[in-house]
């Protein structure tokens, strides 16, 4: 069965979809770059955005590749490759694939038990469960953003707007939840207040933050602005190295 799941027709089907999505990304990128130039944005800033986003994404992408490898043992390589290249999320795929496997009567998600019907059903469920973000975008992205920009204009009359601050605050909330979960995991992960949980994520986050402070110091105080594009990626690398060395 695994040979069928790794066959050329499956690679072709998945490859065509991945290529389509890559083409969409290229079209949006070129349009945005041209628009930026047309409205007089600094080209160096546009280029720095591209460089920083590429360097930023390399390490998490390798992490996602590990997800493909993990799932390829039971679902073959092409389908997990497609799922994690297009709308997939690392934490989502395994969970849904597992639940779908149970529904089609498999004991575990494994190649040994896989049948063509089970695979097709698992693949369908993996697609259907996560498609809502796209559906909502098709119907409501335009109206929602229009409504927000309308209220922004309203509130901006006479004083600086809250919209920008709200985005920063939301992100601070997001980061706080994750950092809090690492500390909570260490303190109570193995029983409330036992301090026997995993300390690694806390140390990794601290090392990464410390490196980031060094990079920010160098780029702001020593005028090494070029470092900005690589600071997150290099800080992450330092944090991950710490996890390996611990």
């Amino acid at each position: 069965m695994i040979a069928q799941l790794n066959s050329i027709p499956l690679y072709l089907i998945c490859g065509i979809i991945v290529a389509f999505v890559a083409a969409v990304c290229v079209v949006f990128m070129v349009r945005a770059y041209k628009a930026g130039k047309a409205i007089g944005m600094d080209e160096a800033k546009l280029k720095r955005t591209l460089t920083s986003s590429v360097t930023f994404s390399i390490l998490p992408s390798v992490g996602i590749l590990l997800g493909v490898i993990a799932l390829s043992g039971s679902l073959g390589t092409p389908w997990p490759w497609l799922r994690l290249s297009v709308i997939g999320a690392l934490h989502y795929e395994t969970q849904v694939a597992q639940a779908a496997a149970e529904q089609v009567g498999l004991q575990t998600l494994s190649a040994a038990e896989m049948t063509p019907k089970a695979f097709a059903t698992i693949a369908l469920l993996m697609s259907v469960c996560i498609m809502w973000g796209m559906i909502l975008s098709i119907f409501f992205n335009k109206g929602y953003l229009k409504k927000l920009s309308g209220s922004r204009k309203e509130e901006n009359k006479g004083k600086p707007g809250f919209g920008d601050m709200a985005m920063t605050a939301m992100f601070i909330g997001l980061v706080s939840a994750y950092i809090g979960s690492y500390i909570g995991g260490f303190v109570s992960g193995e029983g409330v207040f036992t301090f026997k949980g995993d300390l690694t994520p806390v140390i990794v986050a601290c090392v990464s933050a410390l490196c980031m402070s060094g990079f920010i110091y160098l780029s702001e105080k020593k005028k090494m602005v070029w470092l900005e594009s690589f600071s997150i990626a290099l800080s992450m690398l330092a944090g991950m190295l710490a996890a390996i060395l611990l």
Partner: protein, 225 residues
Amino acid sequence: MDRETYLEKYDRSTHILGRAACAITLVMLVGAPFLIGFILGALPDLSAAAKGFLSVGIIWTVSSVVEFLVYTPMLGAGGGYLAFITGNLINMKIPCAMNAREIAGTQAGTPENEIISTLSIAASSLTTITVLALGVLLLVPLQPVLQSEALQPGFANVVPALFGAMAYQYFRRNIKLALVPLSIMTVLFILVPSLISQTSLLILPSGAISIGLAYLSWKKKGAKA
């Protein structure tokens, strides 16, 4: 063409392209299991898929609605369409767009931010697509290296490494704002450790707390001005 007309035209075509791209991707993604099933000689079992959807899909549907409402304003039009097509929002696209915004110094809701966000999400998505394509091509030689026991702790901690760096970047300028949600979340996870597996949902109350605090301080500043 003046700036306003140009931007209006750009925005209109972004929505047309974004909707078309989402619709085509959707059809291909849902169609692929049927096509693959046809090639393998067995179509999907729709009743098992429906049962599966009821057991796990509902949760993901609710979380998709929340993700759409919270992240669309952060990503803008072009970035929003692309991010919902390419996925991995919390662990990559959102931090990537916020980092780009920080570097470019743009403000949410402005055309400049819309452009920076689109560029950032497109570049990030293309990087993932390239890394995964190369990884799949080189799967045989890469697999033992990437799955080696020595490197596992590193890859298991990509997200803490990412949020550690981002925490410094954002907290240093907003330490007062960060302290309250960080303390509340930490205490909550310490007292109810079972919630740790639900962190992606707890982003909402945490975000609401910091937005509430930011609003109070914004109001106060407005009153002083």
